[in-house]
Symmetry: C2
DNA sequence: GAAAACCAGTTTCATTTTGCAATCAGTTGT
DNA sequence: ACAACTGATTGCAAAATGAAACTGGTTTTC
């Protein structure tokens, strides 16, 4: 947090998230529920290097988008959690997914979640954010799990079924 | 366009726009209606360097987010226009502005546009996109100009009036 | 209780990208 | 002819990235 290029909200958001990896990390914590260093390192589609992941986690902690807690089951492990600021990135990520689905060569398996979130509209995003507040901030659990529904749809697509999301 | 890291829509969007300057350039073309190299170079709040601007314009042309036309008034000048793909970034930029306004130290003058677009909702974004299609793609002109409204509000804030956007 | 596997990073080093200032050649106005 | 302006390019130092090996510690396995 030295000096800012300008006070424009788009610029300031870009100064925090405007690189190739920060939002990937947040995406994996948010949608993949990856909470440890090794989970983020190994199970990522994109294959982030350990030094880059380390640097990004450090920066996201400093920027207040993530919080680190010790893991009771393993003295060396830390559990990374989203903060409210990161949870409020949901609509932005939904828009990124929607744009990517329309203008880039996405794969079907990896875009089904984006499709469902786009079709689910603001209500679904709000429900998802409530669920994230439960998972990461300890808020009361919502009745239904958006995340489970997204994961179900993903697994169905991976399994080869193609009639997902067609609101017939 | 060599190899992609993954087929995830968020990742693919990040591969195109995940740097500190690309969205700044698009923002200036979109909201500031800067259409020439020099306009983008000199009148930007953030002070982009000429080699970076040159590289970014080249990449945005290659990615299909901008299009370049010769300027009839000057043989060396080019007019940069947004493509439909870039115009569809409006909701994303609105979300970036909304998040930035909530979680970064924005300045009042530079965030009034973001505030109005956020308050205007999906309808205002759609109207704005129609206006951009008129300006950049030659589509028929809409009745009312969103851009003029945003600029008005900006100038009112700069002039010192503080009762803008308070939906009393 | 020793060995193996796992953990969160760090170190090293080559390559690439940025940031900044100076420069460039072509174009236009005077 | 000449100065100002056009969209860039060049040179160079600093920073960021990427891949792999490595570290110090922890837990599991045999």
């Amino acid at each position: 947090m030295d000096q800012h290029r300008s006070g424009c909200p788009i610029n300031l958001t870009l100064e925090i998230l405007g690189d190739g990896w920060s939002l990937i990390v947040i995406r994996d914590v948010m949608f993949g529920n990856r909470r440890h260093f090794r989970e983020l390192l190994g199970q990522s589609e994109e294959g982030i290097a350990s030094n880059i992941l380390s640097a990004r986690l450090k920066r996201l902690l400093a920027e207040g988008l993530l919080v680190k807690h010790p893991d009771p089951t393993h003295r060396q492990k830390s559990i990374y959690s989203l903060t409210e600021a990161a949870i409020q990135l949901v609509p932005l990520l939904v828009q990124m997914g929607a744009w990517g689905r329309r203008h880039t060569p996405v794969s079907r398996e990896l875009s089904i979640r984006a499709q469902l979130l786009e079709e689910g509209g603001a209500q679904m995003s709000a429900d998802f954010m409530d669920e994230l507040r439960h998972i990461h901030l300890g808020a009361p659990a919502p009745e239904k799990s958006v995340l489970a529904g997204l994961q179900d749809a993903y697994l169905r697509v991976v399994a080869g079924q193609t009639d997902v999301g067609t609101t017939s």
